[in-house]
Subunit: 422 residues, 2 copies
């Protein structure tokens, strides 16, 4: 037998795990600051429920892990947190609206494994249901700015409204049935050069003049130009959305919020503003978070009996972790004190318990091995301080508190040591 | 389509979820106090790895959820946290020992669903590998006592050593091959009367005199009687274990630690001391936590190339939650302040952000609905305070801070309100 993980899955341990957890805890505390409550849904779901809104040929179906229970029921592993969220809303229609929830959990996709793409990964979502007002998008953006500020990552957020992009495409004379293909090419603009972009569009059979015009519009430099152009091509109802959009941009006047008319992000899913968060230092090119308004998805999923306007965001744990790993000052050492008893474990344990009573994370030797080996261990586990406890120390109540970084030793009582370590 | 959860799985939301998370966070903080680090292993594992140590007819195999990936690999969902932990140890043989880890995660068993038995449930384990000393068991018990003290549940811990029970059974003349059957009957003593117990043993073909003698020994009242009897029947090596066991009992002299010679707990798995935690109020009869020493399991799993002595414990999240739900004072309300803007969302949002800057969990109306409806909402979401913000409030910087429990209103500035709510 080959002792190994299932393909595309990873173990997380030690400092890496501690940092992941610190990030998750931090995000959760931000969600709570904005009154989002936690929702935990199962990892296994009924196959019919999870795939209800898809045709039999939807690409996601190929990536769903399927399984059966003893009753021969068709089940699967969830592939995102949004569909289980929709199921939950549908099963709990008496929930007070707006319902605001966050969820951090593992999801599964049986796709190709490559760098940055695993089969088990964590999604970290926050969404609200129950209001169509732009106030919701403003809250979601506030959460994104606050969270990255707390993490210590300098970001910019690109924002668009899918209504504007659709209007632009219409304006360029692209027929409705070509919109999805067209958008998937626009989505690549970031990755390919403008020349390649033009070539691809023309190769796909789009008219060169129309393509050139589109590229020109996508490259408006100022918001004023964009607004001026959009005002002319939007319908009256769409112009109301444009005014709301301006209000939103104004609300974040001093932040790095950039109106990008080419941002497409899940065009078939979103119905209003969409946004993506990028690392300003350009260390990571993929987005760190994203989201938008999806007013139709939950309702469609629930047979359209009722409207469920929704807005939300999702943090990309993995790219954020890559950046955090580079920020050394973000590492919080959780191991504080290591106690080495010399043949007096029970008495040393009583002392260890006093440190723990004061909330100080304290380890103690459990092997009875010698001081040198224990020092090595304490060092490798990054304990900040060590105390060796022998008979002399116990009878005099004087202990040498060794700082493992500087090597400095201070003779202290337990009370004093607790004060220093707290 | 029937909108429903997969059989045997549950959604957790609202106050229930908040309390579950508080319990988990609390347990994690205790594990860290004792220098345990977090390990997160995948929920999907290779089938051959997870079932390696079982024969083809092991009962657990019937309860494993199986699945395949696109490469037709046989996979399964983990059914506990110990086997993945063993795999991790085997794949990381350079880990510094002792390695102490905790893990809180979902596990899956495709068994019968009944009250208190679901197919997806959370295990909450802490284990250490790398020392045979009784110091480890003492640490594990310290963790259990501290954790339940923090939770606010009055417990007693029953403890035994499987070596003593085996010696007792041997002494009663039960042949080795009958030990498992015998132990599974002893395990029932708690649930059935002594008379039933005797009847069942005799029916199973055990000699009545031997059974009577066993029952007499199991009913020794004092530790002195137990020790006196055991000293006589144990081998020299086993008597060393008995002396260590006495040391352990002495270390917890003032705690509710009870030596129960009949405690069997996973006889084939444990190799030394075993323990189970019970609710002193008897509200819940099943154990709240348990654990013990398993010196052979990891090594066997890894082809016995190296010794991996291990001790650990496991918290039963569900029975503990049942008790917590009864302790009303344990409920921590996470929603602090709800702000109702009257046609001034952006300005009210700036104020909300000031509260959030001070760490106060703050909600704000996102629907634009009237004050009455918003008051209902704030009440149903258990916000402690509400502020309604109109033009007068903004121009005068005087706000009415309404205490939602007492109904009392205080006129304050934002600075004062932050001080009050912090």
């Amino acid at each position: 037998m080959e002792l190994n993980n299932a393909k595309g899955t990873t173990d997380f341990s030690g400092a890496t795990m501690a940092k992941r957890k610190q990030l998750i805890n931090m995000l959760e505390s931000v969600f709570k600051l904005y009154s989002y409550e936690e929702l935990d849904t199962p990892i296994i779901e009924r196959y019919d429920v999870l795939t209800y809104k898809y045709g039999d040929d939807a690409p996601i179906l190929n990536e769903i892990f399927k399984l059966k229970d003893q009753g021969d029921r068709d089940l699967c592993l969830r592939y995102d947190l949004t569909v289980p969220f929709s199921r939950f809303i549908g099963m709990n229609t008496t929930l007070k609206m707006p319902y605001k929830r966050f969820a951090v959990g593992k999801v599964y996709r049986d796709g190709p494994v490559k760098l940055g793409r695993t089969r088990e990964f964590i999604q970290c979502d926050f969404d609200m249901v129950g209001s169509k007002k732009i106030d919701c998008e403003i809250e979601v953006l506030s959460i994104l700015f606050r969270a990255f500020d707390k993490i210590g990552i300098d970001i910019n957020i690109e924002i668009n409204n899918v209504i504007f992009l659709k209007a632009l495409i219409r304006y360029c004379g692209i027929p409705d049935q070509d919109i999805p293909k067209f958008v998937s090419i626009i989505d690549k603009v970031k990755k390919i050069s403008k020349k390649q972009f033009e070539t691809e569009l023309v190769e796909q059979g789009f008219d060169k003049n129309k393509v050139d015009e589109l590229i020109q519009k996508l490259n408006f430099k100022t918001n004023k130009e964009k607004f001026g152009f959009l005002t002319k091509i939007l319908t009256d109802d769409e112009n109301i959305k444009l005014n709301e959009f301006k209000l939103l941009l104004d609300a974040f006047g001093d932040k790095n919020l950039v109106f990008n008319l080419g941002l497409a992000r899940g065009f078939n899913y979103y119905t209003g503003p969409v946004f993506e968060v990028y690392d300003n230092s350009k260390t990571i090119s993929s987005s760190l978070a994203g989201g938008g308004r999806f007013d139709e998805m939950i309702g469609n999923y629930l047979d359209g009996k009722r409207e469920f306007p929704a807005v939300g965001g999702s943090f990309g744990l993995e790219p954020i972790m890559v950046l955090i790993e580079k920020l050394d000052d973000q590492i919080v050492n959780e191991n504080k004190l290591f106690i080495i008893p010399i043949n007096n474990y029970i008495k040393s344990l009583e002392i260890a318990e006093q440190f723990r009573d004061s909330g100080i994370n304290t380890g103690i030797d459990l092997t009875g091995r010698n001081v040198g080996k224990n020092m090595d261990y304490a060092n490798s586990k990054k304990y900040e301080y060590v105390i060796v406890i022998g008979e002399n120390e116990l009878s005099s109540n004087k202990f040498k508190l060794k700082n493992m970084e500087t090597g400095e030793e201070r003779e202290v009582s337990i009370k004093q040591a607790i004060k220093i370590l707290k």
